[in-house]
């Protein structure tokens, strides 16, 4: 009796917890509302299955609990029932997979007009690089990383001279414009994670990874590292500000190019 009751309470309690919980994702700030929708579809389907299975379990425990003289039925299998259950499960799985794959195809298709923004992770700070007036990022290599050149930008590549370098600073993005985040690491794995953007991706040393999104509202958002990167992992935070176009342009004006940075650091270090 108690067992059946507890099973019912598990279902009721879980549903109440879900409905009444103040713990839910932060309001979205990107175009990935589809991801939230797929998640909600999944909640409905899985919630229904969980409730159905556990309530049926509770019913069996209550209805067929041992009493004197009771004997169980003998029924080795039922092809018909097993086939129907298999088909119903397959349909449910397809109902979750189909929207999932549809949204994933959007996730992996970067729009033509997306602006490239580079994120460079290192233990334990976030650096960024934006293309300069030419709209292109210069080549980079971890072998070239020095004090004067913290992001390892290739000085031989003319496309890199006007790149804007933001070392451990804040990143600004214009609202409503798609951006492709190119991700690079100069030491270990990191993961560029802004909960409100929903999308995230690992930074892997030795390769460039990417994801894209469109910021949909202005505001200040926290960047966290979501891939264990050593002792400072939990403290590797940054800030992204989504600006209106005017604010964004004003901010761009204040940034330092690679050429300026390298020159200034060489002077400071007393090198020719």
């Amino acid at each position: 009796m108690a067992a059946a009751l507890v099973l019912v309470l598990v279902v009721v309690g879980s549903i109440l917890f879900h409905v009444l919980s103040p713990w839910w994702w932060p309001p979205i700030a990107s175009n990935w509302g589809y991801i939230d929708n797929t998640l909600i579809i999944t909640f409905w389907i899985t919630g229904a299955v969980f409730s159905a299975v556990v309530l049926f379990l509770a019913y069996c425990v209550w209805r067929f609990r041992h009493k004197d003289g009771q004997k169980a039925a003998y029924e080795p299998e039922s092809k018909k029932l097993e086939s129907w259950l298999t088909i119903a499960t397959a349909v449910g799985v397809a109902a979750m997979l189909a929207p999932g794959l549809y949204v994933w195809s959007q996730f992996v298709t970067v729009p033509e007009d997306a602006t490239d923004i580079e994120v460079v992770g290192q233990q334990w700070q976030w650096n960024y690089r934006l293309p300069g007036a030419d709209g292109k990022l210069g080549k980079a290599d971890n072998r070239l990383v020095t004090f004067e050149n913290p992001l390892g930008i290739n000085p031989e590549d003319p496309a890199g001279q006007d790149d804007l370098v933001i070392e451990a600073g804040e990143l600004h993005l214009p609202v409503g414009k798609p951006v492709r985040m190119l991700l690079r690491s100069i030491d270990v794995l990191h993961d560029f994670y802004v909960p409100e953007f929903r999308a995230k991706m690992d930074l892997v040393p030795g390769m460039v990874t990417y994801f894209w999104f469109t910021p949909t509202r202005t505001g200040t958002f926290e960047v966290l590292c979501a891939e264990l990167c050593g002792t400072g992992h939990g403290y590797m935070r940054g800030t992204v500000l989504v600006d209106t176009e005017e604010d964004y342009q004003a901010w761009l004006e204040e940034q330092t190019t690679f050429a300026e940075l390298a020159g200034a650091r060489k002077l400071a270090a007393g090198k020719p």
Partner: protein, 592 residues
């Protein structure tokens, strides 16, 4: 129709080979310590696994104390926190769950359930345990080495695992971890070959494959998988050890550490992840399949009803085992691998839900129109179904590539895998210990302590891990020693964390009741007799309880039926043992 009851023309073939002589122990040492008896080896495996598991349990308390009350315990530095996380995960997955299910239950149950006198290679079986013990000792040594154990996370992802920014990365921690894993895999291979060959070659007459209890099917399939999956981890460990010690660059690209250019170059960190998860995903099922098998037998026995859809259950085990080798990269959706892999791995991952769901339906349908005895093993089996269904369903979130993107690397993942491969299999382990303890010792475990242990463990574990999913939904990343004061994390999340910690401490202490019960019942438990649960499978039909070395006395049993003849119409009792020729008068074996 299922290969169930014997028919008139069902002649059991005569034995084709004479019995082999077993090694007879000559001293106390060869009887109890360097024993070649699978049952003694099983207890050695189980005792060692539970002992090291207790270490991991204490580590989880320390982690939860830090997460629930950050800043209160000054000795839990971020370094220490990562060391606790890493060792907790690695010990629980490899040294406890894998070792206990395969080395513990596999050794005890396979020979008894298939009617063998012992494993087919008893000497190698003995070595397997001692090599496992060595692996555990090397692991324990890393706690005392300078720099402490590794804090790289149980996934040991390079490059950080072998660099100085990670605890143990440039000291002994990571080296001892890798060496311990290598030793573990060597030891496991010795045991694993034994389990597989014993199931294939050691079955008694009449024990066809489709008459084996699902426990044997689960452990057998899991062992085959482990023999195929562990080599991937083995080579990954060797390669990382070379990277760390010899300066090779298998997993190490050109990189700059704390302003210093390192001499590595050209390696791929993602290669390690592929190798790790090619092992790591099957590993989930290496732990789950024995649990599936055992829980099937617990439900059938204690509901006095045949398992529903036995053939489907066997095929589901085999299909899940096979499919689990082509889903591994669902752990890597945001790793930076080519994003198109997402389509393939999401599809395979969700397909695996179908045979898994069939298993759940069949467990529940076994209870339908059963005669359910709510014994302690049955309670644990019911709790397993609840937690496994819960954890399995959240797997559909994480397996569906695009839904995984916001949730990956958050506490949602931690809640999911603890529910599905932590709590669920451990509930089965408890159920199995309450179920088979009478066979191992001749005495029952105390029922009242058992019920107390059950209710606190089940309700408590659910209270720990169900709310944890919502911490992840908020967006809290995993592997953070503290949350700080992020704007997107409401203050109430800290209260929820404190609640989870208190629940974890309570559940942890309830395990002490279980341990006490195990020792107390050795002397004071009720006499069990040979078959206290009135079960059909062969281990309950031994002439002596606990069974001695060689198991069967003068003659091995002959099997006439499957393991699930409960409540057969017209039968004299509500169970017919596998070695009972009913309704034939003359045993078929004697006719041959």
């Amino acid at each position: 129709m299922v290969d169930a009851t014997p028919r008139a023309d069902d002649i059991i073939p005569p034995a084709e080979v004479p019995e082999l002589e077993l090694y007879h122990p000559k001293s106390w040492w060869t009887t109890y310590v360097f024993s070649q008896d699978a049952k003694v080896i099983a207890i050695q495996y189980a005792g060692t696994a539970i002992a090291i598991g207790l270490v991991a349990l204490v580590l989880s308390w320390l982690m939860r104390l830090q997460l629930g009350f950050p800043g209160t315990f000054s000795f839990i530095t971020p370094e220490a926190y990562y060391q606790f996380v890493t060792m907790h995960g690695m010990i629980m997955v490899i040294y406890l769950l894998t070792a206990l299910f395969l080395g513990g239950f596999g050794n005890y149950l396979i020979p008894l359930m298939v009617g063998a006198r012992d494993m087919v290679f008893p000497y190698v079986n003995m070595l397997s345990y001692w090599v496992y013990l060595l692996a555990v000792l090397v692991l324990v040594a890393s706690f005392f080495a300078s720099g402490g154990p590794t804090g790289a996370g149980w996934t040991l992802y390079p490059p950080q695992a072998i660099l100085s920014g990670t605890p143990g990365g440039q000291s002994w921690g990571i080296i001892l971890m890798l060496v311990s894993l290598i030793i573990f895999i060597i030891g496991f291979t010795m045991g694993g070959l034994n389990y597989v060959v014993t199931v294939i070659q050691g079955r008694t007459r009449g024990m066809t494959l489709m008459r084996m209890p699902l426990t044997v099917w689960g452990i057998f399939t899991a062992t085959v998988m482990a023999l195929l999956a562990f080599p991937a981890l083995f080579v990954a460990c060797v390669m990382m050890l070379f990277d760390r010690v010899l300066g090779t660059s298998f997993f190490m690209p050109a990189l700059v550490e704390m302003g210093q250019q390192l001499s590595y170059g050209g390696g791929s960190p993602i290669l390690f992840q592929h190798l790790f998860w090619f092992f790591g995903h099957p590993e989930v099922y290496i732990v789950a399949l024995p649990a599936f098998g055992i829980v099937s037998d617990l439900i059938s026995t204690h509901a006095r009803k045949n398992i529903f859809g036995y053939r489907m259950m066997v095929w589901a085990i085999v299909v899940i085992g096979a499919l689990s080798f082509i889903v591994w990269a669902h752990h890597m959706y945001v790793s930076g691998m080519h994003p198109w892999f997402g389509f393939f791995f999401a599809t395979t991952t969700l397909i695996i839900a179908i045979p898994t769901a069939i298993k759940v339906y069949n467990w529940v349908l076994t209870l339908w129109r059963g005669d359910i005895h709510l014994t302690v093993p049955m309670l644990f089996a019911l709790a397993f179904i609840v937690t496994f269904v819960n954890g399995g369903l959240t797997g559909l979130f994480l397996g569906n590539v695009v839904v995984d993107v916001p949730l990956s690397d958050t506490m949602f993942v931690v809640a999911h895998f603890h529910m599905v491969m932590g709590v669920a299999p451990i509930l089965v382990i408890f159920g199995a210990i309450y179920h088979w303890y009478p066979k191992m010792t001749g005495r029952m475990l105390d029922e009242r302590m058992g019920r107390f242990h059950f209710w606190v463990t089940f309700v408590g574990a659910y209270a720990i891990f169900f709310p944890m999913h919502y911490v992840g939904l908020v967006g809290v990343p995993r592997r953070y020693p503290e949350l700080g004061d992020s704007a997107f994390i409401p203050a109430s999340v800290h209260d929820l964390n404190a609640f989870i910690t208190i629940a974890a401490l309570i559940v942890g202490f309830a395990q002490m009741v279980f341990l006490f019960n195990i020792f107390w019942s050795l002397r004071h438990g009720k006499e069990a007799g040979p078959n206290p649960w009135r079960a059909t499978s062969l281990e309950w039909q031994t002439p002596t309880t606990p069974p001695p070395h060689g198991n069967w006395g003068d003659e091995r049993p002959v099997v006439y039926r499957w393991a699930y003849d409960y409540s057969v119409p017209d039968a004299p009792q509500d169970f017919i043992p596998q070695n009972d020729p009913w309704p034939q008068k003359v045993p078929a074996a004697r006719q041959a």
